[in-house]
Symmetry: C2
Subunit: 464 residues, 2 copies
Amino acid sequence: MSKATEIIPPELETEDEAYVIDRKAIAAILYAVEIWDQEKLFELMEPLHPADIADILEQINAYDRRRLIELYDKEFDGEILSELKESLREEVIAALKPSVLADAVRDLESDDVVDLVEDLNEPQQEAILDVLEDSDRAAVETSLSYPEESAGRLMQRETAWAPEHWNVGQCIDYLRNAEDLPEQFYHVILVDPKMKPVGNVTLGRIMGARREVMLRDIVEDLFKTIPATQDEEDVAYAFNQYHLISAPVVDESERLVGVITIDDAMAVLDDEHEEDILRLAGVSAEGSLSDKVLETAKQRLPWLAVNLVTAVIASLVIAQFADTIGQFVALAVLMPIVASMGGNAGTQSLTVAVRAIATKDLTGANVWRVIRREVLVGLGNGIAFALVMGGVGLIWFGSMTLAYVIAVAMVINLVVAGLAGTVVPVLLERIGVDPALASGTFVTTVTDVVGFFAFLGLAAVVLT
Amino acid sequence: MSKATEIIPPELETEDEAYVIDRKAIAAILYAVEIWDQEKLFELMEPLHPADIADILEQINAYDRRRLIELYDKEFDGEILSELKESLREEVIAALKPSVLADAVRDLESDDVVDLVEDLNEPQQEAILDVLEDSDRAAVETSLSYPEESAGRLMQRETAWAPEHWNVGQCIDYLRNAEDLPEQFYHVILVDPKMKPVGNVTLGRIMGARREVMLRDIVEDLFKTIPATQDEEDVAYAFNQYHLISAPVVDESERLVGVITIDDAMAVLDDEHEEDILRLAGVSAEGSLSDKVLETAKQRLPWLAVNLVTAVIASLVIAQFADTIGQFVALAVLMPIVASMGGNAGTQSLTVAVRAIATKDLTGANVWRVIRREVLVGLGNGIAFALVMGGVGLIWFGSMTLAYVIAVAMVINLVVAGLAGTVVPVLLERIGVDPALASGTFVTTVTDVVGFFAFLGLAAVVLT
């Protein structure tokens, strides 16, 4: 058993255990691997869902991972690969025997194969495509011809569809005998003679209707088709906004080419959120908890480097007032407060804006009202904290002038924070840059520079 | 037409227009309201989904909102209320005529009514419950007896179920004639004689099977039941992790009491994301873009107040070294750099940890390995930036000693940032506090204090 898993003190276990894989279960699995007991391992892994097995592979260390894969061997299911974080897939695929990999991949649906191979290196991609049957391989290669992160990559090509002039009886007879239906489906898509989708009928309605009822008379009220080139982020938005369960995907001539189901859209929503939350903190969304130290350090370095540049810019502002600080050291003591408050207020505004842009709630229709609101909020809280800090400054350093300087600087910086916190993400979105990625740096640079400049500049004028 | 919507310059429109409601459409709607043309308004609103109408109500100002609701009148659909942000619901409900509200509410499914009334004030809650039929009211009140944000609140009570000993033919005959089926359903839940769910059969399988096949022979491999008291965040996790489409909800004696479908789970996932991302930035998730200035300022104030306290603590550290700063003003110029780098590195670590806790990827099985990794990443990047800043310090101020001081302080602060950024959220989770809510303050306080103390303390020892 690896040392890292042995020494966890029980007090570090989380309270809420729902769906967290039991630490003892992982320890038992690693023990079975340690004593190389394949039968025991199969028995322990049998009740686990592929998603849980993928989580276990992510949580153990690289050495245990390789040994576990080797012992698990032929039982290794293709779905485990689809559920794995991208950053681990190449490592795990490299550890699988070619015959095991081939069996694993052949069981997957076409959309899962696409998701699996799209980010692999060339030789691994080839190895996987080679084991597919010709028809499956063609389906996967067609999907791969759509842009990355598009609906075309996300869809499955197996669809349940029927001509719009059919009645319920014809549809049921067809479904009974069809061979190439998707594993799970919830709607039958009605198409016109040009294969253009014109409506969705739920299986529930079909089941409840008499055989002679026309399918077109029981279509769902709400019907949305998804262009194959649409960004997957917008696909996820549409599913969430309109409570879609499945939606047909169409090519540029509006012909049916596939179908997307809500479980895939939900996974995209979750991924997009991960990307947003990590990007706001200056972390690459490509990384994962199982990455090694060096990789992680490299992923984190660029944003820290950008931050260093902005911090140096703020220092240059301070350096302009070195003489004043030399005379009144209290300024050095108080100046980080103004900058810090501005940075925090700016982060509040920008996070609200970034989230509202992602949910399409911040649009041309309300952007000016939101900007005005954020500026006024900055003004209100600026005045509140100006009074507090003025008081603190007065008591601490006994100088009314200093109190006045910090109060005015606080108001200025919080107003600027509200303004920059909204305008920066809106403009970045406008020029096609992900606001989650870049807003933070811009906004905190602005609040640092304005904070130091307003405070020290005012002090230089008033005190000297 | 309101002024705010008139003056948007076209260059502020977003590039990616998928599913964003056309600004011109909103302008046309507001114009119809302005000239009080009800027929025109109905015509413009007719193609819109209730979720889009809710978005429009959120994006226009309060005056336009009230007038639009008045003119839209009887066409106002109950689903618009379910789709509205919570913070606007009371205002909109108050603006509806009692007869319009009654009609709107009667059309909703029980789970939507629960979601609607649970956060309303007492009189509005009563007004809505009063218009429901007795059986619906009883269903809603039963759901409300479950804890807030639990599966019991999320589920719908209408379910499609069948005894486990039925065959396909019996099931189809039942579904044909049943009156109280849910509007949409995708599985039939098999139950034992004690009403305990024992399996799910998809409608697709039922449709494809011969009438004499036993339902229990075509159940889905994967079957999960959800306890009614389970936290809705865990419900959303289970749907996403196991690709569930619908899952039966059971009471404490494991009897079937309702069903949750994936569209509701997806909405929860999205809400939880919003909560996490806003809480990390110190913004209350209860707020919305349509809140007024005063409300918004009040929501933002508490976290700024906490930040002020931590900023003052950092200032107290600086104050200890006032004499040294008085002698060497360069220290005042450089000290914010060390603190800022620590704050950013800490935010990177803590965001990764908060997200990993939310996705149940950071568990007892790997917490020590992750802590060790974050510390080593801090050490690596600390050394890299120590070299850079040492160089900058040397060139800028021509002092090898100063270069040495800032380099060592940088390494110390980035190591501490990695450590605090992981340990703080893990411990907060352990004691039952949402790590997204409180980690940021703790971690930046630590990195500010350590940053200033290490840099100024070393300087005091070495330079004086």
